[in-house]
């Protein structure tokens, strides 16, 4: 084969191949025309008011060709409202095109047609009906228009999607309304009004002092008043205008002045001497709290701050405690009479007492105070009185011993007859007054008694002295 024959042969093959290539789309178009009969459109929902969102699904558009000169890629499906207004253009995906659109607000309340049309081949067209219904009415609450001029009332009603109804009576402001304020009604419901003169409703201004701004606002609103200007800085209302207790019309504004909160001062109670277990409750009652407890024991020995101090509410009070209160030690005063002062001092020291005065050390103690046998507190002083030293005291001692012997002998003599003598000679008889007693020394032979001894008691209700102890 010559090269020319080879070239001609190749050209013919190419031309034939090209012709075959052109035939394939043609056959496809032919089959697509057949498939376009399967095109369908569904709407979900298919009824609703203007503004309703609708999902449109166009199926059977697998062979929808691309538009223009494009020979590759998916075709586009246009969704049209009533066949004219384009709602959306969606490329075909797996033979379907899904669009979401909103029913036009201008749509009339009747049946409409939604069309899905392949832009590359209008033979792929499907349609579905959509019925536009009236919008659902949302209830509204009737505002309070009593006391307002008609024009202002009409504006408020319009804002509430209501309408001004019949107007009766004469006056500048609305005296009553029907339906009344707060009633829930359908939109565009007319509200009838009666004109007249409205007497102002007076309310008492509440006391706002010491309250917070929020509390003041709530208190005012609860009685129909409004919070006006807030001057100053702080978190507590210090003054207000109008003042509390004044009667003012409702809706009156009340101006307030605020200031920083002043901490409340409380008095620290006296805790000394109390059981530490009781202290927390006592402090809480006083608006205070228990702080650190130092020491070991149950009784409060001291406190800080001291009792009576004015401190901020909630402050801590620290206490120190001690153990059980030891009882005071009492010792018996020894007998110092007859001994020397030096002996007395030594005797006192031996039992934990001290000599209260300073007489000559070689003097003889004639008396002492307190007397021997008295129980006094450990460490107390005992005073003594001394006589002057002289040469005649041995004689005095001898005389005393002699006299004592005589007395003892007489007592022994008398004691022998005591048991019978007392029974027969002495008796205790009731006295003349209640509590009195009488002792009569009588004789066994019936002779008149020698003496009558009367004892008359006199009571004393006593005096009481109270003193607080600083511990």
């Amino acid at each position: 084969m010559s090269p020319i024959h080879w070239l001609v042969g190749r050209t013919l093959v190419s031309v034939m191949a090209s012709a075959l290539t052109l035939l394939v789309p043609l056959s496809a178009v032919t089959s697509g025309a057949v498939s376009s009969e399967l095109a369908a459109l569904t709407l979900e929902p298919n009824t609703g008011s203007p503004g309703t969102q609708v999902k449109a699904v166009a199926s059977g558009y697998a062979n929808c060709p691309p538009t223009g000169n494009d020979d590759v890629g998916p075709g586009d499906v246009a969704f049209l409202w009533n066949g004219e207004d384009r709602l959306a253009t969606i490329p075909v995906d797996n033979g379907s095109a899904v669009a979401t659109f909103v029913v036009p607000e201008s749509a009339s309340l009747d049946g409409h047609e939604v069309v899905a049309r392949c832009l590359g081949d209008e033979s792929f067209t499907a349609s579905a009906g959509f019925t536009v219904t009236p919008p659902v009415e949302i209830p509204t609450v009737v505002p309070n228009i009593v006391g307002l001029p008609v024009d202002e009332a009409a504006d408020q009603l319009e804002n509430a999607r209501l309408a001004l109804g019949q107007i009766a009576g004469e006056g500048e402001v609305i005296r009553s309304q029907e339906p009344t304020a707060g009633t829930e009604v359908e939109a565009r419901t007319p509200v009838d009004v009666v004109l007249g003169t409205v007497e102002p409703v007076l309310v008492v201004v509440p006391d706002l002092v010491e309250s917070s701004v929020d509390e003041a606002r709530s208190a005012l609103e609860s009685v129909g008043l409004r919070l006006g200007s807030v001057s100053g800085s702080g978190d507590v209302v210090r003054s207000q205008s109008p003042r509390a207790g004044v009667e003012v019309p409702t809706e009156t504004t009340v101006d307030i002045t605020v200031a920083p909160r002043v901490p409340e001062l409380v008095t620290v109670p006296d805790l000394v001497g109390l059981n530490v277990d009781d202290v927390p409750n006592i402090l809480v009652s006083a608006g205070l709290v228990l702080g650190q407890i130092s020491g070991v024991g149950e009784l409060v020995l001291s406190q800080n701050p001291a009792a009576g101090t004015r401190v901020r509410s909630g402050s801590e009070v620290t206490v120190s405690v001690e153990g059980d209160v030891p009882p005071p030690l009492l010792v018996e005063v020894p007998n110092l009479v007859g001994g020397t002062v030096d002996d007395a001092g030594a005797a006192l020291v031996a039992v934990g007492l001290i000599l209260g005065n300073d007489p000559p050390g070689d003097g003889t103690v004639e008396s002492q105070d307190p007397v021997a046998g008295t129980l006094i507190a450990l460490g107390s002083a005992v005073t003594v009185t001394v006589g002057t030293s002289s040469l005649w005291w041995p004689a005095a001692v001898g005389l005393t011993v002699l006299l004592g012997g005589v007395l003892l002998a007489r007592r022994a003599l008398l004691a022998r007859r005591d048991s019978t003598w007392v029974r027969t000679h002495v008796r205790a008889a009731p006295g003349a007054a209640p509590g009195d007693a009488e002792v009569v020394d009588s004789r066994i032979d019936g002779s008149p008694p020698t003496h009558a001894v009367r004892i008359e008691p006199h009571t004393d209700i006593g005096t009481q002295v109270l003193e607080e102890r600083i511990r």
């Binding site: 008095t267 109670p269 006296d270 000394v272 001497g273 109390l274 059981n275 009781d278 006592i282 009652s285 006083a286 009784l299 409060v300 009792a307 009576g308 209160v325 009882p327 005071p328 009492l330 307190p370 007397v371 046998g373 008295t374 129980l375 007592r411 008398l414 005591d418 003598w421 007392v422 000679h425 002495v426 205790a428 509590g435 009195d436 007693a437 009488e438 002792v439 020394d441 020698t450 003496h451 009558a452 001894v453 009367r454 004892i455 008359e456 008691p457 006199h458 009571t459 004393d460 209700i461 006593g462 005096t463 009481q464 002295v465 109270l466 003193e467 607080e468 102890r469 511990r471």
Partner: protein, 225 residues
């Protein structure tokens, strides 16, 4: 000195001389007087009075003396508290506000009650001597809480008390005793004990007769605030 705790109402006589039979305590006091030679000293100017008679006089003095100290310790303490402003103020407030009650925290305090009864000794109608007794009762009170209502002391809570009583005759100590006392048990508050005298109570009542504020419980400190 006794460390026992007194838990019942007690008289000064029983506290000092024991709770034995009355005759025994009187006899004990009489013997004490005899040891001190009371009658002998007082009647030394009386002729022909026998020693048994002197002992009998001592015994009788002891008998009447024990009657002189037959004072309820709780009553004595309450008498002292009637001078305590924290209590009397609370009494006035609660009397002025019927139904109210105040809990008064009493500070550590001491009530000293001194009684000076005496016994006259007459021989054949003529007074020959006077025996001056002195009974001193000291209450050291710590940590006591008192409840006051309608002007009365109605309850005592907590606290502790040390009671020291001394009986002396003409400066000579006849007896002394110290013991702890449980005031809630010692002080008889049934019925409640008035803290105000009649005049003070009448004054408060007349002042408040025209106004009757609502009851409001409160706690008063030792200062009465």
């Amino acid at each position: 000195m006794s460390e026992a705790t007194i838990t019942t109402p007690l008289t000064a006589r029983a506290f000092l001389l024991g709770t034995d039979a009355r005759a025994d305590t009187a006899d004990s006091l009489g013997q004490t007087l005899s040891r001190h030679g009371v009658a002998r000293s007082a009647l030394r100017g009386v002729r022909n009075l026998s020693t048994p008679a002197l002992h009998a006089v001592d015994g009788e003095i002891g008998t009447v003396a024990q009657g002189l100290i037959d004072l309820d310790l709780g009553d004595v303490l309450v008498a002292g508290w009637r001078k305590y402003s924290a209590l009397t103020n609370a009494a006035e407030r609660t009397l002025a506000m019927p139904g109210s009650e105040e809990v008064v925290v009493l500070a550590t305090h001491r009530v000293t009650s001194t009684h000076r009864p005496y016994v006259d000794l007459l021989v054949d109608g003529a007074k020959v001597n006077t025996f001056d007794f002195e009974l001193k009762i000291v209450f050291d009170v710590v940590g006591l809480v008192a409840v006051v209502s309608s002007g009365d002391l109605v309850a005592l809570r907590g606290g502790r008390c040390v009671i020291t009583a001394t009986l002396a005759l003409e400066g000579a100590q006849l007896g002394q005793r110290q013991a702890r006392g449980d005031l809630a048990l010692m002080v008889q508050l049934h019925p409640p004990v008035p803290l105000l005298d009649t005049a003070a109570a009448a004054r408060v009542t007349s002042q408040t007769s025209g106004q009757q504020p609502s009851p409001q419980p409160r706690t008063a400190g030792p200062d009465g605030a």
